[in-house]
Subunit: 433 residues, 2 copies
């Protein structure tokens, strides 16, 4: 694979997602994220991503552009059995090859379909038509085979668009192939691209930026990235594959350690871990149980906590208390509190947390009450005013006030994050004592 | 704007999303979906989408490719105040123009920052540097100005990557500009691309396909699209902009009507409407109230219903009953039912729906109990077994059994969709009587 080795195009890749539905919306191209990570571990950097519809001429155009600028080109989609699916034809057309039915492709597909008690139909037989000279890639989980070929110094790979099938074929065929090609030329083997991710909550992007000022020594081929979203600011350290000064693992871990020190408590998770997983892990470790009292979040906190497998061990119950009466019925919030302070108040947040903890008999009760908007604001209580409460027993109830911006959905998300973060900090504190 | 008018490239557009974070993941390019819809209404078809990092040479490469194949090129991102942001420089480099500070750009930004009580800093001053000959596009919601220029017969537009800013500038500047250009040449004005969307639930993709067989008369420039997801199968009718036989609105509405007839009850919404909005609309129209009893969905149904503004008028409360004890406490599910049939059973689903309806005093109680996995399965009850219950009072309780496939998250999603759909059909039935 000269393309990967050559000086100019070394470690450069492009993904091409094929399918008209990707152009008009309804689905995002999540495949390319997986491919980018998998190639990055080999030191191959995805620098371009293209999306094109089920149009043969457009696909040929995109393919030609891709091989002119990338050494590895990974296409996903357009390998199905319908007439819309024309990746095979487009690759044959672009590369000037014929399509021929290949035994390896047909046998694999027939065997797969036989497992399901079926025989290939006419459309599926088309799926065994592969450009001449290409290597057939077996599909261990579906019927559509993929293929790989060398063209104009680039490696061209065609995989199905179904994520499960694409992922299996990347790991079982494409990555081993590229690894072997890279290994054959150890001298030019690129540095793996390492990306470390840190999730923060509660500090504005500008302040995170200020906290990390001067972190990366000048000239070091490491990128510091910041990305703000309603769920917090994501910080990333990414090594550059083309760097002349390779970054050692030791150096990267000392940078990561410095990030942790500087971000302190606002760092809630690293890598793929989510807030709900962190909270779940702490609850599990400390053998504590939780119950929820949700008003403006409407069940979102419960939904998030129960996304984690095994959460039934520590999530006992939740009360979604939208009406005032339900706060009285389900949580024993005193009616006079609701009258005196209103449902969106520190006092009611505290009473909700206490109420659910006592009724459920759990270690900790967590509550949220607020105005998600767009309606419901008053002269003194604007949209985005949110109170979070936590009762860990022993009489001490913590409450916190927030003033969030954004639409209804954003305010719900931020409220759920604020509540889970309060619980996280409380659990960390309990774990210390 | 000759490019849009010229025969070859008429109605062809490309979007370019700029930003290294879009390459490595963490955020999908939702901007391009908005742009595709907005241009489609003018008859301009987005045929290519590109994503490129914050690398000036790569951006120049992508820009040159784009103008070679599209008449309208819309870039998003890379207009911020940091050194990473180099869209301005890349456009200047690609088109061979200089960058100069433009009064229109500076004044707009200064006025916007003054509203926030701030003055432009050094980085922000860079944002007023615009390629010579370009038209400055005002940013009505943020500080970064955009710009528009003609190059090699194509219209090149650069907008900020922040969705709210990009959307405002598309609607206030770009669409009026393109409309005017198209209007000047009424003869070649392209047909608008009309896309109608139908959301179905409960019928496999192959069956939806079979139901719609032969719907589109041969040669009619309308595409029928099907897209399966955990939330159901989406059906789309899209007119082709390049069709020689323009599709009249009458013809398209008769096709849409035929889709409705053929899909019947499995069609739950059209266009942008969601299941929770449909259910909310029906509850509101019928002045009914609902309460929820959620086990395996963990609050997801409550979260979905309360995403809809105004839902506090019809959502009274919900009980997230993860533990068996909570089903007894919160819903008065008889303990002998739990012992005899298990928590995941038709009998318990019915008792949960009845329990929450009676306790809340609402029109209808909706319940879900099931095994979301990966743990919790038994010899007779596999992962994915889900029961949904509905109690509308008057003694009649409906239950339905489902056997879903997929991971924990997918099973939760499908369970919530099944429960809401049961409520939808029940409400439609009540509305008829």
């Amino acid at each position: 694979m000269n393309a990967v080795r050559s000086a100019h195009r070394s470690v450069t890749a492009e993904t091409i997602a094929i399918g008209s539905e990707l152009l008009v919306g309804g689905r995002s191209d999540s495949n390319s994220i997986f491919i980018t990570e998998a190639l990055g571990r080999l030191g191959i950097e995805v620098r371009f991503k293209s999306i094109v519809g089920d149009d043969q001429a457009d696909m040929v155009q995109v393919l030609k552009t891709a091989v002119s600028r990338a050494g590895v080109v990974i296409m996903t989609g357009g390998l199905g059995p319908t007439v819309d699916d024309c990746t095979r034809e487009a690759v044959a057309k672009a590369t000037g090859r014929r399509l021929a039915r290949r035994k390896a492709a047909l046998d694999g597909m027939t065997a797969r379909l036989a497992q399901w008690g079926r025989q290939p139909n006419k459309g599926q037989l088309r799926q065994a038509m592969i450009p001449t000279g290409a290597t057939v890639l077996a599909n261990p989980v579906g019927s559509a085979p993929g293929f790989l070929l060398e063209w104009k110094g680039a490696t061209l790979v065609s995989l199905p668009g179904v994520p499960r099938e694409m992922e299996a074929m990347m790991m079982e065929s494409v990555i081993p192939f590229l690894t072997e090609q890279l290994t054959r030329s150890p001298k030019s083997r690129p540095q793996p691209i390492i990306r470390q991710i840190f999730h923060t909550w509660g500090v504005p992007e500008a302040d995170v930026d200020a906290q990390l000022l001067g972190l990366i020594p000048k000239g070091l081929p490491v990128d510091l990235g910041l990305l703000a979203s309603p769920m917090g600011v994501l910080v990333s350290l990414t090594t550059k594959s083309g760097g002349t000064r390779p970054v050692s693992e030791d150096l990267l871990s000392s940078l990561a350690q410095e990030v942790r020190v500087r971000l302190k408590d606002c760092l809630f998770a690293e890598g793929r871990e989510t807030m709900e997983e962190v909270v779940g892990r702490l609850l599990h470790e400390q053998r504590r149980t939780v119950a929820l009292a949700e008003s403006c979040t409407g069940g979102l906190i419960g939904h998030r906590l129960t996304q984690v497998p095994g959460s039934s061990a520590y999530v006992d119950r939740g009360a979604i208390c939208y009406s005032n009466q339900s706060k009285v019925d389900m949580l024993a919030v005193p009616e006079e509190l609701l009258v005196k302070h209103g449902a969106v108040s520190q006092e009611v947040a505290a009473a909700m947390a206490k109420g659910i903890r006592e009724r459920a008999g759990v270690s900790v009760g967590l509550s949220v009450t607020g105005i998600a908007g767009p309606g419901g604001a008053t002269a003194t209580k604007p949209v985005g005013l949110v109170y979070v409460g936590l009762d860990g027993g022993a009489g001490a109830v913590i409450t916190k006030e927030f003033r969030f911006h954004g639409d209804r959905s954003v305010i719900k998300q931020r409220s759920s994050q604020a509540a889970l973060n309060l619980l996280r900090l409380w659990l960390i504190d309990r774990g210390r004592t």
